[in-house]
Symmetry: C2
């Protein structure tokens, strides 16, 4: 059921060692960059090209199997946890990223005061601040 190969099959995606590796890596380390994921996959299956990592991440994100977060001023992060509209808390000092449950519920979790005629499909919320570790060091 949650078998990675079945998950790919269920979405009509050909099963490859690279995609399985990427799926596993994303599950293993939430909020990792494409680069960190590539490293992780390499330590599992020996090697993978940068392009294959981006292809897999893009495809999986497109199908809704994983989620992409793009914090200002750093590489995109990927995670496993989808469908629950949670938000993120990022440390300005060390970049540590933590999950925050949405205070409201379903996406879009906030209604804009004046939507200017737009049809809104997502409200992206990122809280910036300082993490506990960096607070004690400061």
């Amino acid at each position: 059921m949650t078998d990675p190969a079945d998950l790919l099959r269920k979405h009509g995606l050909p099963i490859t060692a690279q995609r399985l590796g990427v799926l596993r890596a994303v599950a293993a380390r939430p909020h990792a960059t494409a680069d960190a994921i590539a490293e992780d996959v390499r330590s599992g299956i020996g090697s993978i090209s940068r392009q294959a990592v981006y292809n897999a991440l893009g495809m999986l994100a497109g199908k809704g199997l994983i989620r992409r977060i793009q914090p200002s001023g750093s590489a995109a992060l990927y995670e496993d946890r989808v469908g629950d509209n949670h938000h993120h808390l990022i440390c300005r000092t060390c970049g540590t990223t933590a999950d925050v449950d949405c205070a409201v519920g379903k996406a879009p979790c906030l209604s804009a005061s004046n939507n200017a005629g737009f049809r809104i499909d997502e409200a992206e919320v990122i809280y910036w601040g300082t993490c506990p570790d960096c607070l004690t060091k400061a």
Copy 2:
């Protein structure tokens, strides 16, 4: 009072043609990229280096005279309107960016349900969707 040169002086910044040009360009076209601002300044004072544009934008943003917005997957945007904690609405199709007043008030305008020990100093909110123009074209 709102004279650009006075504004710079008031913040202890030496007055240069480049900085004045950047200030004027940012005021003239809200939510423009550094590149668009450079073009605008060039049409005003003849020429400016890319670096000078980045220097000026960084310095002005640091002093709080302008605000930088960094939408996922595109270049940073700059604007004049500061100090009112407003948010943004971005069209996924054409990139058009509109202002939205904050529904709550002062920053951080949202309290996270569980702050995980972080000290939050900003809540960045971007609404994604489709603008009126792109809706009719679709």
